[in-house]
């Protein structure tokens, strides 16, 4: 595993840090409080090139490899305190853009990718249903072929970006007798007849990433908007979710590093009993644990990057990375609050927001329990 990054890669990461610190943090406490999504910041990220990072130049991207993408996302996570915004962007990149790029026809790529890379369009993903969460492939949304259209019926929930999105990747079953092998992906535009978005779902954290239900009531989707072949949905979903598990966590690495530095600074400056609190082992041990979690997280995630770059797939390692990083992030957020004492519990110190945001990481892209199930099955258990 080669972990020497080039000057160019490190420059990109540094540029992402500087961009995020300068452009993305204004009024973040208020935006979180009001649960406001910022289209302006979304566009700024697109102009900087975030949404286009791994996609070819012909579609408005930069065409960089997965490790370079991870480094840029890590820099973004370090510089940007708005985890909701980064979550929303990651959601689009890995579960909308990547499936279109990987499985889409030339027409589909040309129609959607340039606008998604440029920020002109926003994308969302519709897999989870009210009755199928972890058991995602038991979804009930149906798709029936009717001439040159499919007719989709069903309800999706927990769709990140849905209230502001223009285009959706929707999973529906075209052949229930084939079980999970009937699942098929569709590109659905919000203007398609029979498609509507429900009211925004209020949640604990990631408040700047809007989320809603989706309703498909005899929704007419042209055959040309089927993504991949009939029955290819599971492979498309698995491919997308593996990308998401691999890259969404890179922003957490940056956030963990920023939080660690904040804690070190505070532990050195804050004095109690006539000495800085960092001199107490009860504090320094917590900071050491945060550092160890950060470094192990980096190794696990970079390994996933190396494996995907070399082989295209890293199912087991992506699950390990998702499980470890998300749980490490929650533990470090709790430690950061404890180190800051009462101040850590206040909104002003911005650590309570990190904690609220971090809990979501053990749930999205498959819960920690599902990651353990995947790893166990791949171990032959």
């Amino acid at each position: 595993m080669e972990l020497e990054f080039s000057e160019e890669q490190l420059e990109l990461k540094k540029g992402a840090v500087g961009f995020a610190q300068k452009e993305l943090n204004e009024k973040v406490i208020q935006r979180d409080k009001d649960a406001v999504f910022s289209r302006e910041l979304w566009r700024k990220c697109a102009e900087f090139g975030i949404q286009g990072l791994p996609f070819p130049e012909e579609f408005g991207g930069s065409g960089v490899d997965i490790l370079t993408t991870m480094l840029a996302m890590e820099g973004l996570g370090y510089g940007c305190k708005d985890s909701g915004l980064l979550f929303a962007i990651n959601g689009q990149m890995w579960t909308v853009q990547m499936p279109i790029f990987t499985f889409g026809s030339d027409d589909q790529k040309n129609t959607y990718l340039p606008k998604l890379c440029s920020g002109e369009m926003i994308g969302a993903h519709g897999m989870t249903e009210p009755e199928s969460g972890s058991d995602a492939f038991s979804l009930q949304t149906s798709a029936k072929l009717d001439g040159d259209h499919y007719i989709l019926n069903g309800t999706k929930t927990f769709s990140t970006n849905a209230p502001v999105a223009d285009v959706f990747i929707i999973f529906a079953n075209v052949a229930p007798q084939n079980g999970f092998m009937g699942i098929t992906a569709f590109i659905v535009e919000k203007k398609f007849p029979g498609f509507s978005v429900g009211k925004e779902i209020s949640k604990m954290g990631l408040k700047t990433a809007p989320m809603a239900e989706l309703f498909l009531e005899d929704c007419k989707v042209p055959v040309a908007n089927r993504l991949g072949r009939e029955g290819n949905g599971v492979a498309i979903f698995d491919n997308a979710i593996e990308w998401e598990r691999s890259c969404i966590l890179a922003t957490l690495l940056g956030a963990m590093e920023r939080q660690l530095e904040t804690c070190i600074r505070y532990a050195n400056e804050r004095r109690q009993f006539n000495q800085s609190i960092g001199k107490f082992q009860s504090i320094s041990n917590k900071i050491v644990d945060m550092k160890v979690r950060l470094e192990t997280s980096k190794l696990i995630l970079y390994k996933v990057g190396c494996l995907k770059k070399a082989h295209g797939k890293a199912t087991m390692d992506a699950a390990i990375a998702k499980l470890y990083l998300s749980e490490a992030w929650v533990k470090s957020c709790l430690d950061a609050i404890q180190i800051h004492g009462g101040y850590g519990y206040t909104t002003e110190f911005e650590l309570e927001r990190d904690l609220r945001d971090s809990v979501a990481s053990t749930l999205y892209s498959g819960t920690s329990e599902i990651q353990r199930n995947i790893i166990a099955r791949l171990l032959g258990l």
Binding site: F103, A175, M181, G228, A235, I236, L378
Partner: protein, 82 residues
């Protein structure tokens, strides 16, 4: 051993929870729940290791994975293009 026998052996040993299962060549592996959504990823991994082929995501469709016969045909077609 013929490919189809290798496949049955692989499914019995590495995929199915019932290690003594008898699988008919035209039996619906998906409909009967012998292959589920995670098992198919393990099966793909087995095929790539056993036959040195690359299973593309777009090839993971019912036509190629519904029965032992269809997997057998799929593997043979991939091997013929190597």
């Amino acid at each position: 051993m013929a490919i189809i026998d290798d496949l049955e052996d692989c499914i019995r040993k590495e995929i199915s929870t019932d290690k003594n299962i008898d699988i008919e060549k035209d039996e619906d592996l998906i409909g009967l729940g012998i292959i589920d959504s995670l098992a198919i990823m393990k099966l793909v991994d087995c095929l790539e290791r056993m036959y040195g082929i690359k299973v593309l995501d777009e090839e993971i469709v019912p036509e190629n994975f519904q029965t032992l016969n269809s997997i057998d045909e799929y593997v043979k077609s991939k091997l013929s293009k190597k």
